[in-house]
């Protein structure tokens, strides 16, 4: 599947890694909902590292939609929460 890391581009990750990413993703969501900024930072970092480690970058001229989209490494908890609550933050 294709994963976009915001601000960095897209990578292709084999489906077999999905469970691992999913686990971290669920953790990230509950930290976000609980307002646990520190946990959120840690899990987001781990998730990004995993995607970068397991994925192969897509060529720049690929026009593929991503199945999964991850916030940028320096995205704040509030910023991500806002992106998910309404699409006001996402231009275009």
């Amino acid at each position: 599947m294709i994963v976009r890391i915001m601000g960095e581009g897209q990578v292709e990750v084999a489906d077999s890694h999905f469970p691992e990413l999913n686990r971290l993703d669920d953790e990230l969501l509950s930290e976000m909902e609980g307002g646990d900024e520190e946990g959120f930072r840690r899990t987001l970092g781990a998730l990004l590292d995993a995607v970068r480690r397991l994925g192969t970058p897509l060529p720049d001229d690929a026009l593929e939609p991503s199945e999964l989209i991850l916030p940028a490494a320096d995205a704040a908890l509030d910023e991500v929460r806002e992106m998910l609550s309404d699409d006001g933050l996402i231009p275009g």
Binding site: R4, M32, L47, D60, L63, P65, L68, I69, A72, P91
Partner: protein, 264 residues
Amino acid sequence: MSGVMKRMGMIFRAKANKALDRAEDPRETLDYSYQKQLELLQKVRRGVADVATSRKRLELQLNQLQGQSAKLEDQGRKALALGREDLAREALSRRASLQQQVSDLEVQHQTLQGEEEKLTLAAQRLQAKVDAFRTKKETIKATYTAAQAQTRIAESFSGISEEMSDVGLAIQRAEDKTAQLQARAGAIDELLASGALDDQSGLGSKDDIQAELDRLSGGTDVELELQRMKAELAGGPSAQQQAIEGGAQGDGQQTQTPHRFDKQ
């Protein structure tokens, strides 16, 4: 329960689909979207230029601050050589707070450099995608009827609109960061201009230390030279050297190594 990255993917896709659904003829959507892409590319390039301008401004400020820091160090030495440990202490404590500003600015400089690199890469990615989109768009328009085009368009459109959303957001964030740093840079410019950075003590004029040093040495380094020659001729510790040894910590070499001062 679906996590953050799944939801985010859905939101982006929904956005792209909404734009497509609104179109009477999807082929028109292609042209419209392409215009938007070109506008965004312009905006990204302007963003990179803005960040670069801010970075250069910071570099100039850093150089100025470092120049002042060196000057204060020099003044500290001279003051010490003239036996004025109080003045030397003042000069060095001002230098310490300048150094604080310098390390602060260095951190900001790194931040800006990082933003500049990220945006430059984003611009490259977007450019490559825009080129690919243009080719695809022309193919679709030439080959398919409006009805057939619908399915062909969806995928490439969704890919490019996701990229545009991402880059658009990156530009917004970079603009925010740059604006914050610009404000700080402006404040530092004012401090530099007013001399406040030179004078944290609030003791009078911009360069009270220099004024005092000039007064002590008759406005030139002649007095200092004389002091040093006297000391050499006497071959022993002069009055001013005793003053130094009495107070200055860790500056014992001062007595052995005569300093060279700038001759104006």
